[in-house]
Structure formats: structure tokens, C-alpha cells
Amino acid sequence: MIYKKDANFPYPVLSNSSTSYPLAEFTIDLSLNENVDTYRFSFTMNLTSTFIKNLLSAGKAELILVVQSRDNKFFKINSTDSYIEIPKTRISLTNRTTIQMYIQTTEEVSFTDNNEMDEFYSQFKQDIVVPKHGVLAMSDIVLFEGVKNESLDLFEKKLDPDLSSDIKIELGPETIIIHYKSTDLQFNGLQRNTTLNNSYVYIGLRTALQQFIYRYGEGEEYVELSEVEPENALDTKLYVLMGKKMIRELNIHNVDEVIYAISDRIIEKFASAVKGLVS
């Protein structure tokens, strides 16, 4: 239902290509966050038609987000929400994906009180009735231009033959440092040895997040991320990462779920690297 073309409806529709509403506008701005399972589209909507805004608040109209890749997917949005979360399994984002929002009626709507239309339509406004599920307004179209991955320098490694354990996790001011007693433990020379170190990375993340709870939980077993002011560079990196991955709360019971959400399949990739060595 993305109206890329100038379709002529049998009644006035607010859109950027039509002059039916000479002064009103309907545009959207989008941003995207994601974690391992979910996309979150946050939007700001600029709708200047009072008539249509009133219909929305009265529940006589609703907002729909359309995501078009190969086919169209429709998502209803509560008029008070500023974002919508969509499971990654439901849509595929490519750099051909286009996104549009439109407003449709939830019941038959009379235009008698619509004073924003052009002269031609205004003369008939008592007689204009838009049927249930009729489109009232279409936003401009936003084209998804792809994503850039920004890596975080979260980890360092150090070889320390004098270590009194095989490995040791140290939380530095900027990084999580994994100390190894021997190079064998780093899997050097094995295929995908970096991925084989994911097991240590997991332990390192867990250690850092536990300290995060301890440091910002103020004696409690949980942290509301919105209330955190990170004190050093490492915590800032974790804070930004969790924020971007839409984590709201970190507590001693959800550390593994948080690691799963903020990372891209650490354990799955580790397992596949091990399987690769066996085959």
C-alpha cells in the first residue's frame, strides 16, 4: 500500500503530491535500533491537519506503518507511541526497503467538519463520506539506506605466564582484559581462533555486567539504565551498547539474556567454529 504513484482517490487525501489539503502536511522521520531479535523503528511524525489529528485522538482513525521490501508488511501504531518494535523474523531490511506511514479510518467518517480542504472539495464537504478503512493521509516515503556496523573496542588480551590461574578477567578503565597463562589457551593457529575465544569474551562480558550492577545498583540487584551515569570509559561503552540494543534494565537474573541481546550470536558462532574444527 505504499503509494509511490499519484493515485487519485475518490475523495480528498492528504499527501505530498496532492493539493487537496492546500496547507496541511504529513511527514515522518525515522531512526532504527536493533538487537539480536528485534528492530525498533522510532519515528517523529509531523502531521499538521487538525481535522485528521482529532480523528486520531478520537480513535476514528489509526496510524499504520508500511514496510515494503519484497512485499508489504503493515503494522498498526498506537497514536501515542513514538516507536514500534518488529521481530527480525517478520521483515527483511535491505537497501531497497521503503517505509511509509498512512492514516486510515476505523469507521465511516464524514468530512462535514473538515475545513482544511481546497475550494472544490469544500463546497461538497457535507456530502463527503470516507468509508471504514479508507485512507485519509499518506506520509512521504522514507528509503532505508542500509546499516553501518560500528565495532566497540571492548576487549584486550595479555599473555601472562606467571598467572596463578589459566585465565583471569580484569576490568580495566577502558576495556575488559583477558589474561592467559599460555598461548595454547588462545587457540592460536586454529582456524577461526578469534571465534574460539568467544567463550572467554562471554565470561568477560558477564564479569563486566555484574560489576556494572554492583557499581550502579546502589545496593539493589538491578539497574535501570535510564538512571545510570557511567563513571569510566568501559562502563560508557557497555551503557551505549545496551542502550542501542534497547535494554532497559539489567539485573542479576537477566545478565545472560542481556548478553544474548547485545551481542550477535556469541555462543552460536563459537559452536560453529568448534564444529568446523571437528569436520
Binding site: I2, Y3, K4, K5, D6, A7, N8, F9, P10, Y11, P12, S15, N16, S17, S18, T19, T27, D29, S31, L32, N33, E34, N72, R96, F120, Y121, F124, D127, I128, D140, I141, L143, F144, N149, E150, S151, L152, L154, F155, E156, K157, K158, T175, Y180, Q186, N188, G189, L190, Q191, N193, T194, N198, V201, V240, L241, K244, I262, D264, R265, K269
Partner: protein, 659 residues
């Protein structure tokens, strides 16, 4: 008639099996025989010439009757009796092979070699008379008088020549020789089992040779002079091996070429050897062509798990050799090692080559078989000699546990251990250099944030856009202030390309359908369609009355459309549109459009019962999807249409105007 195929008479049959080495070579397939014969040719290099040894391999077909002594061969083979299930099966196979009149053969002919010497002396049992040794002995390795050269030579076990027999359905092979004096002789052998033919029992091996009867009742084999033509002829110095009844399962040209590249890569690269397989040249100039051809070798480093030749060649050509010393605790051996470290490599192997350029082994380093390296090891004369002492009979490994002498065995084990240790050190060194033990850990594949980008698609298109101009189909923007979707590159935000194209592709296709049903000359959204589409448009146009008209798509800002009860009002405002405003009349086409931008034809006559001009009340005739000769007054069209009962009020339209 004198016999040409000599089987020694014996008093009774003792051994009922085929020679065991036949089976060994058979199981190595075509690679085994190719390797053996080329190795023999390299060993026979004429060192007085500074030319590479040339080996020509040909396989083809020949008449059975052209094979020397075929009648005698048939008689012997047909007299064979199998004493076990296995030999019976082989014998049946031999008899069956004899039933064909047209048979396959393969030949290996070498040049720039010395050929065999001393043919005239026949069976002399003198190591200088290589012809006699080659022709009449098994397990006798003719030792070169030049010690240094002997060390470098490939063969040493003296049984390699039986490899050729194994490639024949009859275990039959011939060899034609031309020595440096131009003497041409021919010999051959057949490997059967001990058998009874007529009144006599015979040994398993038959020799194609003449016999000289000596005074003391003894006999001596003397080769025939070669008077054969064609396949069996050899008139340049060197040896030619002909194997008739060439086994079907061996006749694989790709496999032959691969086995040459695998085994002799360095001999080829060093220009010691040039091989022609059915005319295809394999040499230092062409080896890379085969190695880089996916028909022959896997091309992805990660996929090289059994065949490593492409890696060896790369390693040898690209790396600077390093000197390594390996001791067997009795003597030090000096090798050159070419070494590549590459983490894409999944199986780490080191090719051990003789100085002659023949690979002995894909050497595995214990515990390091899956380390990401590739290496090539070559020694000198002393090293060749030592390696040769370690090899197994088929020259494919130095891990030979069959050395009998306990002290030599101990040294051999020590040598292998030291070689392995040396390599482990080098591999570790490279691994450590490539995997710093300290520093940042790259977690960019698992820990990252994303920055997404969105672009606004400009949708401010207005006015009319010409999509067809008479016979000449063009698209241009015709009104100063109007803009068409897709043309907004001029606005500096040409971000609409992608979406626009998608829309056009789909719209255009449906548009074609629509035209087929009568919307003459309309199609697409007016954006650059492909030329094919335009052609169709043009062809179509010539069949319609719109031939001389220009067609424009009408943007929605020029249209007012409203359904009120049983009627629909439709206004077009062309008063600012240069192309239309002064026209007195025009045609209007209707097309239904869906949410994806696809257009469908629309039949006016089935949906409207009456179409009037709102101002003049003049009625237009309703035909299919186009309204003709619509009056334009002051640049405006104002229509009032009476709806039929079946009219779908939810439909959305796009319009085209023809002027």
C-alpha cells in the same frame, strides 16, 4: 613358426596368483602409472643435452591384429584357469577383453632421454646393459655409474616398470627403444599366472623377445629389432611405452594431467620436464593455467583439503626459501624450505620434493595437520640419497617402517622426528607473529552497534509529464514548475532512484497489459522505461489512432476527483500546463492503480452510464478505457460521470492525456 612370446617352461604349477605389485599399482589408478613412467623418463634424461625431458602421452584406439604376437598372447590367455575366486574373475575379464577387434591403448614416449643401452647384448645381467635389465628382470634397479646422478634419480626399487602392465586389461605392455646409435628395438611383457598350455606348464611372465640358444643348452633372450610402424614405432632417441588393452577406468585425461601437476610440479616449473597429454602441453608456461582452473583443482584455499598442488605452487613461486638443517644424529642434512602461513588454509602440509622435481609426499607434521600453513621442502644430492633410502617402493612416503637394519631404522626415526620438530618451531614462530598474544581482541563480528541511514524520497511531482511524443517516444518534463518523481536529481537529492525504478518496472509491465486492452500508448510512470517497453509502445501506437498525439501522465495535483452518491466529478487543471492549456480538445485514458503502483486497464463502458461536460452538459461517447475528444475550456476539463451499479467506489486511478 618361431615363438615371439617367451614363457619359461616349468615342470608343474606352484604359484596360482598374479604378481602382487600389479594390484598395488592398479589401486593407485592412472596416477601410479603416469608417475612411474614420467619418473623413469626423468631418470633417463640425456644430461649431455640442456633440454627438458619431453614425455608425450597419447591414448587412442588400434586394431587388435596390429599388436605384436597377439595370436600367441590369445592362446596363453585363453588357456588360463583361475584357482581362486579372485584370479578367476581377473582371468574372465582378460578373456572378455580379447573379444574386441578394436582396442584402446595408451603410450608414453620420451625425448631428450638416453633410451635404454645395450639392447644388442640382450639378457646380459650386466648393470650397464639397461635394456636387458628393463626387459627381462623384475626388482633389478640399474644403478647409474655416476653416483651423484644416481642419488637424484627417482627409481630405486626396480619394480616400477610393472606399473605399466597393471594399466592393461591383459597386464600387457610393450616398449620401443631407440638408443644413441639409432638402434631400434622392441620388447614387451605380459603378467599372467602360472599355467598349462598344450602339453607344458609355463611361468607367469611372458616376454616378447627372440631367443638365442647357447652351446651349453642354456638360452639367452635377445630383443627383436623394431620393424613396426605407427604406435609401436620409436625412431628418436628414447623410450616409448605402449600399453594395449588400456583399462577403461584409467582413461581419464583430467586425472592424468592432475597427477602430473601433483607429482612433478617442480620438475615442470624448473623446466626439467614438459609433458603433452593428447597434445595438451603441461610445462612451466602452462602449469598455472591448469592449477587455476576449477575443472582441475578447487580454487578456494579453504576447500583445499586433499589436493594441495595449487598451494605448493604458490608457496614455491612466491616465498623466499629458508635453509634448515635436519640431523639423523649421524649426519646433518641441509634443505631449502619454502613456507607460507595463511589462516585460510585448513590442512597444513609440506611437499617433499626430490631435486629432480618429483614430489615424494604430502608430509604431515604430527599434531599440526590442521595448522594453517603450506610448505615445500627440497634438499641437495646427499639429501636426495638419504630420502630415497627412506622411501617405500611406490615413492610416496618417507615414513617407511620397513627398514630392516636396526641402527638405520633408529636414524630414520630420529630424522623424521627432527624434521617434524623443526617444522613445528617454524609454524609456531609464524603463528605467534600472526597472532599477537597481547593486544586488542577483534570482536567486531559479535559486539557492535549499528548506524542506520534513511533517506527521504521526494514526492513533490506535479503537473504533466510527457511520456510519448507522436511517433518518437520520449519523456521530458514540460512545465517549468512541475517535477516528476525520478527527475528530482535536479533538486540535489537524487535519492529516489531505487524506489522509482522499482515502481516503473512493475508499472510498466502492467501498463503493457493495459495497452493490450486498449489504453493506447500509455505505460509506466513516465520515468525512463527500458527501450523495449518504449518500442512496444511505439508499435502499438502505430496501430492506434493516437499516432500523431503526444501522451502525458497527469500528476494528482492537477486532478480533483470526488464521488458523491451516484455520480463522480473529475476535474483536470491544465491551465498552467504549456502542452495542454491551449488545446481545444484531448483524449483522456483511465487506468486503475494499486498500492504497489501497478496499473490495470479499466473499461469505461462497464462502469459509467453517462459522461458529461459539467459546463456544457455535452455527452461524450463511452468507449473502453479512453475518453475521446474531450473539450478543454480555458485549460480545464470538468467531467461529471454517472456511475453504474457495479462501480467499485474504492478504486484509485491514474490518468493520461493525449494531445
Amino acid at each position: 613358426m618361431t615363438k615371439q612370446m617367451q614363457f619359461t617352461k616349468i615342470s608343474n604349477i606352484e604359484e596360482c596368483n598374479f604378481h602382487p605389485v600389479l594390484q598395488d599399482f592398479y589401486s593407485m589408478g592412472i596416477s601410479g602409472i603416469t608417475g612411474e613412467n614420467i619418473q623413469n623418463s626423468l631418470d633417463g634424461k640425456n644430461r649431455a643435452l640442456n633440454e627438458p625431458v619431453i614425455v608425450k602421452i597419447i591414448f587412442g584406439t588400434m586394431g587388435k591384429q596390429d599388436i605384436p604376437a597377439i595370436d600367441e598372447i590369445e592362446a596363453h590367455v585363453n588357456s588360463l584357469v583361475g584357482q581362486s575366486e579372485y584370479t578367476s574373475e581377473q582371468i574372465e575379464h582378460m578373456k572378455k577383453a580379447l573379444q574386441n577387434d578394436e582396442i584402446k591403448y595408451i603410450s608414453f614416449e620420451d625425448e631428450n632421454t638416453k633410451g635404454l643401452a645395450g639392447a644388442k647384448n640382450g639378457q646380459s645381467n650386466n648393470s650397464v646393459d639397461t635394456f636387458g635389465i628393463y626387459a627381462y628382470s623384475k626388482g633389478f634397479h640399474a644403478v647409474e655409474s655416476d653416483q651423484q646422478y644416481e642419488s637424484a634419480r627417482g627409481g630405486s626399487h626396480g619394480i616400477g616398470k610393472i606399473a605399466s602392465n597393471s594399466a592393461s586389461d591383459l597386464n600387457l605392455m610393450f616398449f620401443a627403444n631407440c638408443d644413441k646409435f639409432g638402434n631400434q628395438h622392441i620388447g614387451g611383457t605380459i603378467q599372467l599366472v602360472e599355467h598349462r598350455s598344450g602339453d607344458h606348464c609355463y611361468r607367469a611372465t611372458g616376454y616378447f623377445t627372440d631367443v638365442e640358444h647357447l652351446e651349453n643348452g642354456m638360452t639367452r633372450y635377445i630383443p627383436f629389432e623394431n620393424s613396426y610402424d605407427g604406435v609401436f614405432n620409436k625412431n628418436t632417441v628414447g623410450l616409448k611405452i605402449v600399453i594395449p588393452f588400456f583399462r577403461d577406468e584409467f582413461a581419464d585425461e583430467t586425472q592424468i594431467i592432475k597427477s602430473i601437476c601433483d607429482r612433478f610440479a617442480l620438475a615442470l616449473l624448473e623446466n626439467n620436464l614438459v609433458v603433452y597429454v593428447n597434445g595438451k602441453e603441461i610445462s612451466k608456461n602452462t602449469i598455472e593455467k591448469f592449477i587455476n582452473d576449477p575443472q582441475y583443482y578447487p580454487q578456494e584455499t579453504g576447500q583445499m583439503k586433499k589436493e594441495f598442488t595449487p598451494l605448493y605452487v604458490q608457496t614455491y613461486l612466491q616465498q623466499e626459501p629458508i635453509d634448515i638443517t635436519v640431523s639423523n644424529s649421524h649426519q646433518d642434512y641441509e634443505f631449502k624450505l619454502y613456507f607460507t602461513y595463511n589462516e585460510e588454509i585448513t590442512k597444513g602440509r609440506m611437499a617433499i620434493f626430490r631435486t629432480v622435481g618429483m614430489k615424494i609426499e604430502d608430509f604431515k607434521v604430527h599434531g599440526y595437520a590442521t595448522k594453517p600453513f603450506n610448505a615445500v621442502l627440497i634438499g641437495g644430492v646427499e639429501e636426495d640419497k638419504y630420502l630415497k633410502s627412506l622411501e617405500d617402493p611406490s615413492h610416496t612416503t618417507i615414513m617407511n617402517s620397513k627398514i630392516k637394519d636396526p641402527s638405520l631404522k633408529k636414524r630414520a626415526d630420529k630424522f623424521i622426528r627432527n624434521l617434524q620438530q623443526k617444522l613445528r618451531e617454524i609454524i609456531d614462530e609464524h603463528m605467534n607473529a600472526n597472532n599477537p598474544v597481547d593486544g586488542a581482541i577483534d570482536t567486531s563480528d559479535i559486539l557492535y552497534t549499528i548506524e542506520s541511514e534513511f533517506m527521504k524520497q521526494l514526492e513533490k511531482a506535479m503537473g504533466t509529464v510527457r511520456i510519448k511524443s507522436g511517433k518518437k517516444v520520449t519523456q521530458t518534463k514540460i512545465t517549468g514548475g512541475t517535477k516528476k518523481k525520478g527527475s528530482d536529481k535536479q533538486t540535489g537529492e537524487g535519492n529516489d532512484d531505487e524506489g522509482g525504478k522499482t515502481g516503473v518496472g512493475k508499472g510498466g509491465r502492467k501498463g503493457t497489459e493495459a495497452r493490450g486492452q486498449g489504453i493506447g500508448g500509455v505505460g509506466g510512470t513516465g520515468k525512463q522505461g527500458d527501450s523495449l517497453k518504449r518500442k512496444k509502445q511505439k508499435e502499438k501506437a502505430t496501430n492506434e489512432d493516437s499516432e500523431s498525439k503526444e501522451v502525458y501522465s497527469v500528476k494528482s495535483n492537477l486532478v480533483q476527483r470526488l464521488i458523491l452518491g451516484k455520480k463522480e466529478l473529475l476535474n483536470f487543471h491544465f491551465d498552467n500546463q504549456e502542452a495542454v492549456k491551449d488545446a481545444r480538445n484531448c483524449n483522456i485514458s483511465f487506468a486503475i492503480v494499486d498500492g504497489m503502483g501497478e496499473e490495470y486497464s479499466f473499461d469505461l463502458s462497464k462502469n459509467y452510464s453517462e459522461i458529461l461536460d459539467q459546463r456544457t452538459k455535452k455527452a461524450y461517447s463511452i468507449q473502453r478505457s479512453k475518453l475521446k475528444d474531450v473539450e478543454v475550456i480555458n485549460g480545464k476539463i470538468q467531467l461529471e460521470m454517472a456511475l453504474q451499479n457495479n462501480y467499485n467506489r474504492a478504486l484509485k486511478f491514474v490518468y493520461y492525456v493525449e494531445v
